[in-house]
């Protein structure tokens, strides 16, 4: 028969003022299996804990009930105290008679009766407690970063510097993402390539970092600390071990296709290095347009290659590796404004370009060596219109959210145009100008001082007239229609998550919201974690943000990964669910309801009558289960149960309440 010790705390006068603690102790002595009940001034104090330990020895107790403040305050303290005694730390229940009893009631008699009831329920529950031990799962000390943009690179560098092995999986032939496409970065106007390419080179050269470019995540299995990721490496047709990146093949290749890196401005050959500062700076062959691969003609690159690095027979390879943590850094894309806004020309006019295309124009290493020219006829534009919130903050035609960075980079564009083209005019149609960073407002003031004209209103229509692009809009401050004849129009289009994010999220078992942004564990308190243990996120995959925030998040995600990979084993909470496999009928409803996909149906040998059979039963993965208990309430036979809150215990609590 259990021997329970009940310890009631005065908490100075916090409890004793409203609850007659001696009466509660006297009542507790009558409860079943209670061997000892006493009160003390400060149960959580050192002498208080010593008194408890002493009584455990004197009265040979095996279970403890402490009636004091909220378990959220001192449950951990008392559990640590029990570690020093012969009683298992989980044979302990705490009755909340301060926050939910003494402090919220005035009538002493009724408050005492409520305290007695709470103690009676705790005694009933502790009677059915089982000794629990924390179990541990091994951790593979390697991290995987999905996405090679600045977020992925920064996270990988931080993790690698902490001494852990990191793999970056990037679907493009080179890492760098969108940042390396930009010319200048606000608000300091330092050159984007100058600050991002050193990071890329560090990543390329870091002993702990392995770059897997032109690769995608194929399948993810396992759980925190023990992920098994299958990576699909698309055929490159160039053996990067032999190739030194001399670029001879690139110059000889006859085919020319629009360059994705340059946002369609300018062209690139079939065998290409995406951009000069690419890491790894080794070419790949684009199978869709290479004459050899499509029509089995040409083959010049194989002939000219001094190191015979070309291999037309290359195919997709799959490799599976074990990782302890995964960081999602898949970045963003600009929305396809042409479909959303046919009134802006629907993509017909070459001179209506996006912010990224302008970045390529103004970029010294871009196709036009930094000269801002009109893509249609190559002439230098005089009047430029910048239209903001194209797709953003637009419930019915585009995205409902604000893409956060466009106000600043539009101001930057205006500044660059006014700077590079003397006598040019820049008109910026805006709804609001948001400058939420350090030095942002000053940058906005300087841009207006340079002569950028901000017109408060939306552009309703853009059409070509002769050589000019007529932008019709309104100026809500003056309250009248405005028409601007422009040589070139730059649209600050909305950001949206990378195209394949739904596929990646599905494989990782993380959720994405209605706009396909990855859902973080808690918007305010756990921004870089996801609901799935061991999977972290950073950068614009979680929502629109600018480079400073992205890099900050990358560091945070890296810190979380380091915290996880720092230990050889990860301690899992013992308050998780477990299955009585003799009674389980394998219906699988617990598998459906588990938020963490911690339950799976497995085949186990079993007995049916006296026959040996293999049964399908549920099995809980102790690494993933967070102990919510949803499965325990779904199971009709009650054979999956949550340790610490078993069906039997809650039933006893309900019974005790009404005896």
């Amino acid at each position: 028969m259990a021997r329970i010790g009940v310890f009631i705390c005065h908490c100075g006068t916090n409890i004793a003022a409203t609850v007659d603690v001696e009466a509660v102790a006297a009542a507790a002595r009558e409860f079943p299996n209670v061997a000892f009940a006493t009160t003390y001034k400060y149960m959580c104090s050192e002498p208080g804990q010593a008194m408890i330990k002493e009584s455990i020895e004197d009265y040979n107790l095996d279970r403890i009930v402490i009636a004091s403040c909220s378990p959220r305050m001192h449950e951990l303290t008392f559990r640590k105290m029990l570690k020093g005694t012969k009683i298992n730390p989980y044979m302990l229940e705490i009755a909340n008679i301060r926050e939910q009893c003494a402090w919220v009631h005035t009538d002493r008699a009724k408050a005492t009766e409520k305290a007695i009831d709470h103690v009676k329920m705790a005694v009933a529950k502790v009677g059915k407690d089982k000794p629990l031990t924390t179990s541990t799962i091994p951790i593979t000390k390697r991290a995987l970063v999905i996405g090679g943009g600045i977020a992925g690179i920064q996270a990988a560098l931080d993790i690698a510097d902490a001494g852990f092995d990191v793999t970056i999986v990037e679907k493009e032939p080179s890492i760098g993402g969108h940042m390396v496409m930009l010319d200048k970065t606000f608000p300091t106007m330092d050159c984007s390539a100058c600050i991002s390419t050193p990071k890329m080179v560090d990543a390329g050269a870091h002993p702990n970092i392995t770059l897997k470019t032109s690769c995608e995540v194929e399948k993810v299995e396992g759980y925190v600390g023990n992920f098994e990721v299958t990576i699909k490496e698309k055929a490159k047709y160039v053996n990067h071990d032999l190739c030194t990146g001399c670029g001879l093949c690139q110059t000889k290749c006859p085919t020319k296709v629009p360059s994705e890196f340059n946002q369609g401005i300018g062209t690139r050959p079939a065998i290409y290095i995406p951009f000069a500062q690419a890491v790894p700076s080794k070419p790949v062959i684009d199978p869709t347009c290479c004459l050899k691969l499509t029509k089995d003609k040409c083959g010049i690159c194989e002939k000219v290659c001094p190191l015979q690095a070309i291999n037309y027979k290359d195919e997709t390879k799959y490799t599976t590796e074990k990782y302890g943590a995964i960081v999602v850094a898949t970045g963003y894309e600009l929305v396809d404004w042409a479909k959303m806004y046919p009134e802006y020309g629907g993509g017909k006019y070459a001179d209506v370009i996006t912010g990224l295309q302008f970045e390529r124009l103004v970029n010294a290493s871009g196709p036009t060596e930094g000269h801002i020219v009109r893509p249609s006829d190559g002439k230098e534009p005089k009047d430029v219109v910048i239209v903001k919130c194209v797709g953003s903050r637009d419930q019915n035609k585009g995205k409902s959210y604000c893409s956060r960075a466009c106000c600043m980079y539009s101001a930057k564009h205006a500044h660059q145009i006014l700077d590079k083209i003397p006598g040019s005019n820049v008109y910026i149609f805006y709804m609001d100008v948001r400058t939420p960073g350090k030095g942002y407002e000053e940058f906005y003031d300087n841009t207006r001082a340079d002569g950028a004209q901000y017109i408060r209103g939306r552009v309703s229509k853009i059409f070509k007239e002769g050589d000019k692009l007529i932008c019709k809009g309104e100026d809500t401050l003056l309250g009248k229609q405005v028409t601007v004849e422009a040589d070139m129009v730059i649209l600050a289009t909305a950001m949206e998550p990378a195209a394949n994010i739904a596929d990646v999220a599905g494989k990782l078992g993380i959720s994405i919201d209605s706009d396909r942004w990855v859902t973080e564990a808690h918007p305010k308190l756990r921004p870089v974690e996801t609901q799935t243990g061991g999977v972290f996120l950073c950068g614009t995959c979680q929502g629109p943000k600018d480079i400073p925030d992205t890099v900050a998040q990358a560091g945070a995600a890296a810190a979380k990964v380091m915290a996880l990979l720092n230990h050889d084993e990860m301690e899992t909470s013992p308050m998780i669910s477990s299955v009585d496999q003799t009674k389980c009928s394998g219906c699988g409803y617990c598998v459906e309801v588990c938020p963490y996909k911690a339950i799976s149906l497995i085949q186990v040998p079993g007995r049916d009558g006296n026959r040996k059979v293999t049964k399908t039963v549920a099995d809980v993965n102790s690494g993933l289960c967070q102990g919510c208990g949803c499965c325990a309430a779904t199971c009709r036979t009650g054979c999956i149960d949550l340790k610490g809150y078993t069906n039997e215990q809650i039933l006893k609590e309900v019974d005790a309440l009404c005896q």
Binding site: M1, A2, R3, P32, N60, D62
Partner: protein
């Protein structure tokens, strides 16, 4: 085999008398022996060897246990920790109040045993019912012939009633004691091996000999096979059945094997009687 029962419990056979545990002796890591008296210090009843008592731990449950020994003012029962109820028993401290009713079941056929040599075979906790018969025979030593006691336990520290097995019984007149353990354990120089093979090894003569055999079902089937091989007749081998008994007085219909009730017509059966019953054991 139904012999009238001298039943000293209250007139209602289903209501236990309130008793208390006056001593708890840890025989082995999972077996404890409880000395039980009524609250006013008397013996609840004086059972015959092999009889059972329904011991109930108020608020937890009740089950049938064999009475392994008795004195002038106490009875003793040994309980092995196997399930929820027995675990609760093992948490008992002296002074704990329990309910006891009985004695139930028939008992070892002492009259048939009179004047005969007797071979006692006990396996694990099965030694407890056999011990009640051994103690009876030692108290009336002159009524019985030569005694052989063969007791098999898992390992040395799993041997119950050490002072009986290792000191008292070997000293008793004309009594041989054979102790064996399933696995060798340090500090044990006695025989190692399973009971059925040990029986054949010693080679007991079946003439004029009765056998009292108790233990786990697997041991009973193998041991009785060995005994029959050595020439013992089925009527001479007596064993007990520990089955699911609820009321203990042959009314609730739970412990029936065929038309026989284990709690009333048993638990002591000869192998011959067991063969009569349909095999639903």
């Amino acid at each position: 085999m139904a012999i009238d029962h001298e039943c000293s419990c209250s007139k209602n056979p289903l209501v236990p008398t309130l008793c208390k545990v006056i001593d708890v002796k840890q025989e082995t890591p999972d077996v404890q022996t409880y000395t039980i008296q009524t609250v006013d210090g008397k013996k609840p009843f004086s059972p015959l060897p092999g009889q059972l008592a329904m011991i109930s731990l108020l608020g937890v449950g009740e089950a049938m246990f064999s009475i392994t020994a008795q004195g002038d003012d106490y009875i003793q029962s040994s309980i092995k920790r196997t399930g929820l109820l027995t675990e609760a028993f093992h948490e008992m401290q002296p002074g704990q109040q329990i309910g006891v009713r009985g004695p139930y079941g028939n008992h070892f056929p002492i009259d048939d045993f009179k004047g005969k040599d007797i071979l006692f075979i006990g396996g694990g906790i099965g030694i407890a019912p056999v011990r009640s018969l051994i103690r009876y025979c030692l108290e009336h030593r002159e009524d019985f012939g030569h005694l052989d006691i063969l007791y098999g336990a898992r390992s040395m520290n799993d041997i119950c009633f050490k002072e009986d097995c290792l000191e008292n019984w070997p000293k008793a007149p004309d009594t041989n004691v054979y102790i064996t353990t399933d696995v060798p354990s340090e500090g044990w120089d006695g025989h190692v091996g399973f009971v059925p093979s040990y029986i054949e090894e010693v080679g007991f003569k079946p003439e004029n000999k009765k056998v009292a055999l108790c233990g786990p079902p697997i041991m009973i089937t193998l041991s009785s096979a060995s005994l029959l091989k050595m020439g013992f007749k089925k009527e001479d081998v007596i064993t007990t059945l520990e089955l699911r008994m609820k009321c203990g007085i042959g009314k609730c219909g739970r412990c029936n094997i065929g038309s026989k009730f284990v709690c009333l017509d048993g638990p002591v059966f000869s192998l011959a009687e067991l063969d009569e019953l349909p095999d639903e054991k």
